[in-house]
Amino acid sequence: MLTFLPLFAKLGLWFLDKYISNAAKKEALKKQWLDSIEQISHGVAESAALGEKYYDAKKRLDAKFDAIKNGEKQ
């Protein structure tokens, strides 16, 4: 039995190494996945910002409109 001990030890080390590398790979995938979730949240988290941009655009548009209308009156 003792003759096979080094072989078992090697096998054990091989499985351990494989387990660690799989775990690292899964961790990396999990991080990638969470980043993607974050990306989605960020992608949809700009509704208020879009509203602000439209608000600024409206002010510029109204100024342009008023200038034309005032020009027409003169």
């Binding site: 039995m1 096979f4 001990l5 078992f8 096998l11 054990g12 499985f15 351990l16 387990y19 799989n22 775990a23 899964k26 961790e27 995938l29 999990k30 990638q32 996945w33 980043d35 993607s36 979730i37 990306q39 989605i40 949240s41 992608g43 949809v44 988290a45 700009e46 509704s47 208020a48 879009l50 509203g51 602000e52 941009k53 439209y54 608000y55 600024d56 655009a57 409206k58 510029r60 548009l61 109204d62 342009k64 409109f65 034309i68």
Partner: protein, 218 residues
């Protein structure tokens, strides 16, 4: 024999301690349009709909949906493991989500365990925008009310035809828009964008939002 037993215990322990995240998640390489209905009317990707006090959204999130994010100016509620279809009653919060000065465009994102992310966008518009237009978007022409949304691929040209000459203002970072009297055209850039029009005769407004269909950058 003892070694075999020890070895078996060792391997069992390894198996038990394996990470629980055993699915096969990948980053979102692509995005797709979301299918949904508002009060029973079906839409794909985007919609511009007159605002009501209460509207029922039925969102087709797919079988592998992990979470859904519905963003408005009032918040960013997220639901984990949503049912398919995901049913949501939208009641705009007064002064925040029905603000006539600052539009509140709803954005919907669905993350699934596949490599696909689904996006949708809805402009629930009110009386602040009332100038209609003919919109030619993705080679399809339709008559829009006070607001419109177009979802197109990068560099596609969109055309808007109004009933009267208009003035236009683009939001920051938007592609240039060319308007000649009542006809306006622009080429879609990579990003989300928007244009606000005002009729020179009526003084009424039209809000046009555009979202690109470019793949996500991963």
């Amino acid at each position: 024999m003892k070694i075999w037993i020890l070895f078996s215990i060792f391997m069992t322990a390894c198996g038990t301690a394996a990470p629980m995240f055993a699915e096969n998640p990948t980053a979102f390489k692509n995005e797709a349009t979301l299918q949904f209905s508002v009060d029973g009317v079906n839409f794909v990707g985007v919609a511009a709909i007159p605002r009501k006090k209460s509207q029922t959204l039925k969102i087709n999130v797919g079988k592998s949906a992990e979470r859904i994010v519905i963003n408005t100016c009032a918040g960013n509620p997220t639901t984990i493991s949503p049912a398919n279809p995901f049913v949501f009653v939208y009641e705009p919060i007064h002064f925040i989500e029905d603000n006539s000065e600052k539009p509140c465009i709803m954005k919907i994102g669905v993350a699934s365990t596949s490599s696909l992310a689904l996006f949708g966008m809805i402009d629930f518009y009110g009386e602040e925008v009332s100038m209609p237009a003919w919109i030619t978007c993705n080679r399809i022409s339709l008559r829009a009310g006070g607001a419109s949304i177009c979802q197109v691929v990068t560099k596609a040209t969109t055309r808007l035809v109004f009933d009267e000459p208009v003035l236009v203002e683009a939001l920051d970072d938007c592609n240039k828009i060319d308007c000649k009297d009542a006809i306006c055209t622009y080429e879609m850039g990579k990003k989300e964008c928007g244009y606000l029009f005002r009729g020179l005769k009526s003084g009424n407004y039209h809000r046009h939002t555009v979202r690109g269909l470019a793949p996500l950058e991963n």
